[in-house]
Symmetry: D2
Subunit: 487 residues, 4 copies
């Protein structure tokens, strides 16, 4: 009886129905009627899945608001705490335990019950994605449901995090002989370098390629995290060499199948990593996958000496345009911009090259070229822009920070894993996608296995970024601009 909530005031009929269903699950659980509770949980899932988004929102708010904790009980136990402490450790510990249980919201029982079902875990992961979406779209300070939704989503994260503990993940290699439905998902999930057709796909799981996934026992046939790796003989400087070329020389066997020559491989390039479940946001699995794959590759190829990513730099173009804008504003306001972006000579050469820029400043012209990606088609601009853009990109990656850590999320991911910021590559991804993200640049993060621990520690504790001379040179080049440009 204590768990059965009386529906509040003027509830919508949907909320009333939600109350009924949730109450019956809780009631059945209380009397240990497992089959009843199972059936009711299954009904609830069906019910929820068939709701339209607006109704889902009502349901989730009802769940968050009416099936949380009982504040009064918590308050009451909390007030007993200091007295309990005086009565000795035994009493204190028991009181704390009571407090802990009082802090477990009622919906936890519902989730536990749903977790019993086939596909129940997947349901909860998907429901968490719904809540994330709801919070992102309705996040107004005026919405009084938000604190409750945030409690709900945090609670779900903690529960799911325990279920998706790394020890529960299974590493699987995906090949062209893997199940078709799984390969189709791999294809659809690939967002970094989209897979256009099945020939593309076959190449990405074929010779000199490794596609590894983490799967979870309770979400069969679903790749939870996907890591694409290329086996090469050098650290790749262009994504096209990986996704559009068949890789190193291949012997062809009697029946025409292409075979790898293990001896020609000395490098593993991680060129795409994707977490496929929005509802797992905040539960880190990607770094574990990389580490497991490194182990796997080391045991397969003893001679692999280099592990590196070929990573995109999402946000660089956006950042650059903002910076240029800021510069223009500062200039317009007659302020002396703290740091120049281009040297005078660079501006001059570009101005000479693009010809008549009317009454626009060269900076404005560059902005337009970058916004439209048109510079990449030009004969001369790529060469002229190479030096300044690489310099600025290094600055973006190495200098820009957020709470002390690298501002660029991909950089932050690899640095936290202990990788070294290794090499910035010009014209490494000349697809529209690549140009729009980072003016076509990509970067390698190198994993020196014996150093990752230390790198990671130093990065986490002291915010120090380990970088190669190339990167450091590029970064340093930013500092001198002012001086140089004054000459």
């Amino acid at each position: 009886p204590t768990t059965i909530m009386s529906p509040s005031h003027s509830m919508s009929s949907l909320a009333v129905r939600a109350h009924e269903m949730l109450d019956s699950i809780l009631g059945a659980q209380e009397t240990s009627s497992t089959t009843v509770a199972d059936n009711q949980a299954r009904d609830l899932c069906h019910f929820y899945c068939n709701l339209i988004p607006e109704d889902k929102a009502v349901f989730l708010k009802t769940l968050a608001h009416d099936y949380g904790v009982d504040h009064n009980i918590i308050l009451q136990i909390a007030q007993n705490l200091s007295m309990a402490q005086e009565r000795g450790e035994g009493v204190l510990l028991k009181t704390e335990e009571r407090l802990k249980h009082a802090l477990v919201p009622k919906y936890n029982l519902v989730f536990t019950q749903i977790g019993h079902l086939n596909d129940g875990v997947k349901f909860l992961v998907d429901m968490r994605a719904d809540i994330l979406h709801l919070l992102n779209t309705t996040c107004h300070s005026t919405d009084q449901d938000n604190p409750y939704l945030k409690s709900l989503i945090n609670h779900l994260r903690d529960l799911i995090a325990i279920w998706f503990s790394v020890g529960f993940m299974t590493l699987e290699r995906v090949t062209w002989e893997s199940a078709c439905d799984v390969l189709q998902k791999i294809s659809e999930y690939e967002a970094v370098h989209p897979i256009r057709n099945w020939t593309d796909l076959k190449r990405r799981v074929g010779p000199y390629r490794r596609c590894y996934v983490f799967t979870h026992h309770s979400m069969p046939r679903e790749p939870v995290v996907v890591l694409h790796t290329a086996l090469t003989d050098e650290i790749s400087n262009s994504i096209q060499s990986i996704v559009s070329h068949p890789g190193l020389e291949q012997e062809s066997s009697v029946n025409g199948a292409r075979k790898e020559d293990p001896n020609s491989v000395n490098t593993a390039i991680f060129y795409s990593i994707t977490s496929t479940q929005k509802g797992l946001q905040g539960i880190e699995l990607g770094n574990y996958l990389i580490k497991r794959v490194v182990q796997e590759l080391q045991s397969e190829f003893s001679q692999i000496q280099q592990f590196a990513s070929l990573s995109p730099i999402p946000g660089f173009r956006e950042w650059l345009l903002l910076e240029m804008n800021r510069y223009l504003h500062a200039e317009a306001a007659g302020e002396y911009p703290e740091q120049k972006l281009f040297t005078g000579r660079e501006l001059q050469e570009i101005a000479d090259n693009v010809g008549d820029t009317r009454d626009k400043s060269t900076i404005e012209t560059i902005m337009k070229l970058i916004k439209t990606n048109n510079w990449a088609q030009s004969e001369f601009l790529p060469d002229l822009l190479k030096e300044p853009l690489m310099r600025l990109c290094a600055r973006y990656l190495y200098v820009e920070k957020r709470r002390g850590f690298a501002f660029n999320p991909v950089a932050n991911f690899h640095l936290r894993n202990g990788a070294v910021m290794w090499r910035l590559n010009w014209l490494a991804d000349t697809t529209t996608r690549g140009l729009s993200a980072s003016c076509g640049m990509m970067i390698n993060y190198c994993y020196f296995l014996e150093k990752t621990e230390e790198n990671s520690k130093v990065y986490m504790e002291k915010h120090h970024i380990e970088a190669s001379p190339q990167i450091l040179e590029l970064v340093k080049a930013n500092v001198g601009i002012e001086t140089k440009s004054h000459l």
Copy 2:
């Protein structure tokens, strides 16, 4: 720094070492150095496994005592609660969340880290078994560590319960074609009706038998719960008919293999259920296994109409001897015993049969016979004892209670599952084991599928035991003794 405990006063060198290891795991976790933390967790497991029991106790107490919660922080947040409530729901919810996190003991991080390892889950389950053992053997009110150990064990139970949620268990059928190591474990774990040799074992997984197990993804090749089932054409009244006989008529195929005739089966008898992991005590999986097996059998044999157990009655003989002792004491004290155990006529017939009982009372003689199991070898006693022992056993099962529920744990298990107390069977298990447990009696609990939910609910809520006329008659027969015996 906050997580690093300073070792207390005069710690043993073992405790110091434990502190070092635990602190380094927590430190590595704090800086997200996953590989370091993994390695340290692995070291810790090795370290613990190689300790002698006394040192394990020291380690566990250190863990429980020094890596729990910070009472002061909890107290402080608890004191802020009422003020937070006044500042609005958002603040209240956030404070509650802070309180919840403060209530998570430090060792939780250690367990999470161990859970990442291969065999880590198994390690924690086994460690929980160690703590249970420690609590059972040292449970003196004077031991001040106990409250901490209890907190520790409860916390582990909650964590393990989430990991062993039913949705994470896999149902597997074990046959003679299953892996040898698994079959060996099945054989060793069988405690109810021990398996003497491999012929025995082959029969228990052979035709007209079903052996189902729950396994867990993170403890591969380990049957966590085992359910032995016999397929018969009636509700079995003797365990020998199951474990020593090959079952119903079998066709033999061309190559001599024995085959089932599905049409001759109409009943499934659950004759043994075992939870193999002591560390999972308190986490109910057995009832779920029975329910899954019922589903499985129904889909395999549409004509199965009866599902029943053939269950032991552990504790009956012990209870009976206590009751008889109590009776004798009451009599000796000149008190009028509230309820007689045997009728005068029963006592007389037994006395006549056993002959010279010297100066002992017949009750004493019966007690001795029962203690030694010698009555079973006698020509006449089994017949003479049948009526009174069955009557008393029915009383033990149906009337004796603990907190309102059946005192006998096996009865309580099946009644909670919604079974009906169906039929008491005389001379159903005449092994020494069976005689010593329950004077050779066994009982069937019947599962009427369309009624289990209701039965379970009524039992859980109102403590009502659903029983067959046979049981009820036997129970009622106890009531009339006094009157009858006075005649």
Copy 3:
């Protein structure tokens, strides 16, 4: 030494090389040097695979001619036979055995050796396809190699037939969860109703569809025979209803997956059967596959009552055009054609409809329409042509014979299996492919399980075709034309 052939006269260098390789295999086998023989067999396979077609022909002729039997030894043993018979059964049997062994060509040892290799069986099957191709393209009576090639191909057939005995084939169901490489092959092999894209393919292995294949242990991942089946609620009369529609009503589950409702199924339609290996020509596996699939479906769906094919009628249009041509020639020659094809009224109506046919006869006009498939686009012609074309197609299927059996190979296949010629369907396949093969008609052959044995026997022994009233009516309609058309 006896097995080593001395290269004949002016052999090409290729033939010399072939001799060397073959001799070394035979030599190694003679001394039981298995590893040597294995390696040499592997070399031979590589060598052969890399030859251009012309060289393959030289190799095959060398093999056939120089590694066959020793005619003189055979002759000699044959001449001893009658004398052996006089010396008693023991001697006769031994002589026959010697004769049998003398009749085993030398290349048999080479094939046995190749059969030891991984992929060796596949190699021999493919080589047999090469020989078939060679025989088909060079089959001039003047080519003196042909008798040897025919001996070679027959010997290979006998050997392969033993290897591909039905007991060695494995039945597998292919679904969307099957291996991607296998599904790709399924897609490529489908010649009857080509699969255009992966959506097509997904449908053919999805709900209400069954795709079964025979695989062989020594040719892993290779579907040897493929049978596509649709589960329906009636005998389908159009291929589009199967390959372009998702089938019967489907429930959608929680997570959106489409599910079958087994109760809505009462018919299984075999709509495509393909033998994928040219080298297995003459080794019947298709009928066994159909029978195994019938068993499989019966055990899955007890309520399936009808098993029928929806089959193409390859060759009908070609036959029809030939018949019409013959008619025109006969007419031109002033001969009275033995059997008219169209009634006068039919011709008149068509003539009226197509309008001005210039100086061509209506027959010629019809021929042109049929040749171009243009009639199918017309508004009226499909209706006008329906009756005559169905009548003529029934005649083609039922009356036209080859060595007493149905001339149409698909008809012959199903009739030999014991099926009944069931229903001719108008506009059942309106693709260009369907129109070009059979003017868009398809036919159902029905498998009445309790009658197939008898039907098969009667067809095989007495050439009797079991047909439905519809077919018989259509056939009979041909007979009356003359009379009718004279009216």
Copy 4:
């Protein structure tokens, strides 16, 4: 009709029944009624399996005699051969083909049909074992059925040999995690060094041991050939060190499992190889299994440098006793035995040791000791007998021949495989079994991989036995006896 045999004269009712069944299979096959033929073949198998041995003999003779070839047709075609030759190659080849087909016995069709069935191949293998048994037990020259049975068994061998071509065998490793039924068979089939209990068995598939089997697709769960291998750090000189000891040092893991240290292994010892199917006699698979296992081990342990057997020497004691007997007879007959067995000094020492030998010669005494295996219990005899018995055993192994090849079958097997006769080991198998076979000696045959081909060739072609200096010394020691003993 032509295939239907009219039962001959006074056939037993069993033979009549056999005729009926066989005829109906042949009849059904002729009309391609596959399902009928399948059913009848299944009936035939059931029928045969349930016969008592005497009736099986009748059945087999009927099959051999009445379902063989038609001698008259063969004779007739044979007589046409020379004429055919004159008419050209095409005609000759066709006639030869007709002859070949006429030489295929009728029962071949029956076997082909049975081969279609599940377990059909196993049935034929077992039936061949029955025929072998029949031939071995009734092999009197007077039995006129024998030539027919021999034809039958040879035909079956050829058919089965094609089915059991090495390319059709699958290599599997058996471990303690393999299926229980397979392990039970491994245990039962082990004849060389019997497995006494499951602890024994667990050791033989445990750490530092490899048990590999060949299985065949059509006989699932049946190990056809079994090879037991020990991984050691030297060439073992005693079987007890392998079957009774746990092998090299093992690390024990956290959970107590014993693990191999791959670096401590440099030798693989094949200590038992068993062909389990009597019906496969004459179809060599064992040497292929050894070669596959060598490949397997090389890829698992790159550092393994030695491959050797530890083999029994069956027949040595029997041979020795015969030789000694022959010696005594020669002596008694006053003949000068061509070669003495023992030196005078050896005889004297033995005589001194065994004490009073009454009126028996020392040779007779030694014979008795060897017959009873009693010498092994003696304190001194093992030392005294070591030199002469090892010398004589070397002579037995190296000098005794049959058709030019080693007389000892195990020696012949390994020498044919290209192994070197490496080391004779004294007291290597002191079980009763070992003493009775070879006075407790065992021998290592070494496989030097780069030499096996050549060794095999030289042995097969020139009967040369490659042996180590130890063996050659021992052999040579036999030669000098006469001289030495005369001193």
